[in-house]
Amino acid sequence: MVLVLVLFLVSITIAAYSTFSERKVAAFIQDRLGPNRAGPFGLLQPLADGVKMIMKEEIIPTTSNTILFVGGPAITMITALMTSAVIPWGPSITIAGQKVALQVADINVGVLYVMGVVSLGVYGIMIGGWASNNKFALLGAVRASTQMISYELAMGMSVIAIIMTTGSLSIGNIVHHQNGWHGMEWNIIAQPLGFLIFLICAFAECNRTPFDLPESETELVGGYHTEYSSMKLGFYLFAEYVNMFISSAMITCLYFGGYNFPLMDWVQSNTNEIWFALICVGVFLAKIIFFIFFFMWIRWTIPRFRFDQLMNLGWKVLLPLSILNMLLTGAFIIFNQ
């Protein structure tokens, strides 16, 4: 229970500070200063943003379906926060004679759970865009749902290859499996193609550039959240950052060894359990932060696709490649036996 609360707070904090660091990174890339008024170095900016969002007037268009209009952002936010439950933050520690896993729930179908919950997130966007009764919002919602559904396939296929090598759907096991070679047996080495596919699909799932078509402001004004204001808009934007955090965590867990780090067996034998666990959590966080930065770096560097190009990439390139990757992995496993 404590862990749930802690994890919830961590997700929220990381997401909140992602919004801040997004603006700082953008400013850094674009030769600007970025937010620096609220608190030292603008560190209270997320707080100020939150207060602003809550204080703003809430507008629910009269032509919209009120229940669905309110439900949309709620679903998005809930599903975004639900995913973090299965992420292992570090090796288990012993507190008062009890073994405590640094993971809310090590369910044995962890990967499947993440994929499932992430797919549910489409509903939030779809419902929100549809309930707004606005053409731009509808177009954005249609784009979002098509995009997420198409890219989930390739994403799933690339993850299957990982599951085949690990032989488990549990994320805890997958991470533990990458423990060998002094903590360097990461899946990225065995699965570079799968990693690339997963990375691209993760961008698409989060609706980030170059896949930010659903909310491309130069075409669709605001996309699916055109009609939203106040904290409901905040939820949509916030959920995007939570999703980004989850995606980074998943990339780290599946391909970059989770909390494993080089020479970890040596560190383990030289420190006590608690310190070791803390170092692991720190390493995991550092990896996540790097990937969040990577997301932002990409966003401020390259343009976005057109809708048909997006579909082509998803169905004609990524899906065949991921199937090929799966077949190759299978052949390799059989060959090795």
Binding site: A26, L139, T209, L220, F305, R306, Q309
Partner: protein, 420 residues
């Protein structure tokens, strides 16, 4: 997909039977099955960069038909100009294409000088060339970086926009204003360029190429950007000529027409520069042509600064060029000229002239009819944006919504110029 397949698909997905085709005893025809969606792109849309409306008839994301509406910021410039003395008209022309206001301004002054048969000193010509080329760079910076923004790449936009700022600082040092500058006078400039202006121009010439090539590296060969712009918003050279396109948009289609070369004005014949020409007439070619024109403009400015002739910064036309303040306060003649000019009491000769300059986005023409009074009898601006916008529906039909926005920004339709 044929319409039969579509009907079949609707039937399958809707679970309806063959009988549903007949409603009220009438067979549903092709038109009724296909439901189009109407989308108002504008008048205030983040991508229209100004106020104009497009009513798009959409089939999903594909544009079936488009109807542009203009006139949202119509300010009746041509009519307004008929009631103003000549020296007051530049404030109107500045507000046509506000991205390259000095070109409009100098274009107007060249027209008036043509009517009045004023010979300007070489130095005035060269100073004007510098200003016009700076304005062209500023205009192309806006257009090209906005193309990048409309594809979703914001960073390049901010890189080059800082240098648009530097251009504005140069304007500011010349005339005190930044956007709508009113930079020239009939016969030349209000005052000579200071040392500082030349210093700034030189530093701009030195620093800007780095930024511009960085922008090119970021955007020009980017795979996604190329995919987004190549074959988007195409127009054939024949169609472009029929619409009487000009400027970068015509050159992108492959026609090497440039007013600066075809009918040189303002001593453009003294300069050595190339006219970039595209082949496909698509958005990518328009982008590349503008990009190359910026490099050529830089070289023109370089030449102008190097070969700057000595002499006066204005023509000797006391009837139209305000005397210096010392003369106004110190001599009778100065005071009288000042009074007559400011009150617009000086008649111009009868006649009609057409003069065109290579504006930021095409041939900017001024047709001026004078009946000998203090103000024009009739004035018409040939506004390139107005012409491009007529071809817009034709260029976007059949493409997707994202393409429509790119086509718009790559043609650089400026609302101020469009509506006049």
């Amino acid at each position: 997909m044929t319409i039969q397949e579509l009907i079949k698909m609707i039937n399958i997905s809707g679970g309806s039977s063959e009988h549903d085709h007949i409603m009220h005893g009438k067979e549903i025809t092709e038109k009724e099955i296909k439901q189009y969606n109407f989308l108002n792109l504008g008048p205030t849309h983040p991508a229209t960069h100004g106020i104009f409306q497009n009513v798009l008839k959409m089939d999903g994301e594909i544009i079936v038909d488009a109807e542009p509406t203009i006139g949202y910021i119509h300010r009746a410039f041509e009519k307004l100009a008929e009631h103003r003395p000549f020296y007051q008209i530049p404030t109107i022309t500045d507000r046509l294409n506000y991205c390259s206001a000095p070109i409009n301004n100098i274009g107007w002054h060249l027209t008036v000088e043509k009517l009045l048969k004023i010979e300007t000193p070489k130095r005035v010509d060269y100073l004007r060339v510098i200003i016009m080329e700076l304005a062209r760079i500023a205009d192309h910076i806006v257009c090209n970086s906005v193309i990048a923004v409309d594809t979703g790449a914001l960073t390049g936009f901010l890189y080059v926009f800082q240098w648009r700022e530097k251009i504005y600082e140069i304007y500011e040092q010349i005339c005190g204003a930044r956007l709508t500058t009113n930079i020239g006078r009939i016969g030349g400039f209000e005052r000579d360029f200071s040392e500082n202006v030349f210093l700034n121009i030189n530093s701009f010439l030195k620093e800007f190429p780095k930024v511009l090539s960085e922008f090119e590296k970021l955007v020009m060969r980017n795979r996604i950007f190329m995919d987004r712009t190549i074959d988007v918003g195409k127009i054939t050279p024949e169609r472009a000529l029929e619409y009487s396109f000009s400027g970068p948009n015509l050159r992108a289609a492959g026609v090497d027409y440039d007013v600066r070369v075809m009918s040189p004005y303002c001593s453009y014949e003294d300069f050595d520069f190339k006219i970039p020409v595209g082949t496909a007439g698509d958005s990518y070619d328009r982008f590349c042509v503008r990009q190359e024109e910026m490099w050529q403009s830089l070289s023109i400015i370089q030449q102008a600064v190097q070969n700057m002739p000595q002499g006066s910064y204005h023509a000797d036309v006391p009837e139209f060029y305000l005397p210096p303040k010392e003369e106004v306060y110190g001599s009778m003649e100065g005071l009288i000229w000042h009074f007559k000019i400011v009150m617009g009491e000086i008649d111009v000769p009868k006649g009609q002239v057409y003069h065109s300059v290579e504006g930021g986005n095409g041939e900017l023409g001024f047709y001026l009819v004078s009946d000998g009074g203090r103000q024009p009898y009739r004035l018409h601006f040939r506004r390139p944006s107005f012409i491009y916008y007529q071809a817009y529906p034709e260029m976007i039909v059949g493409s997707m919504l994202s393409d429509a926005i790119l086509t718009m920004s790559s043609m650089n339709v400026i609302a101020g110029e469009l509506d006049a």
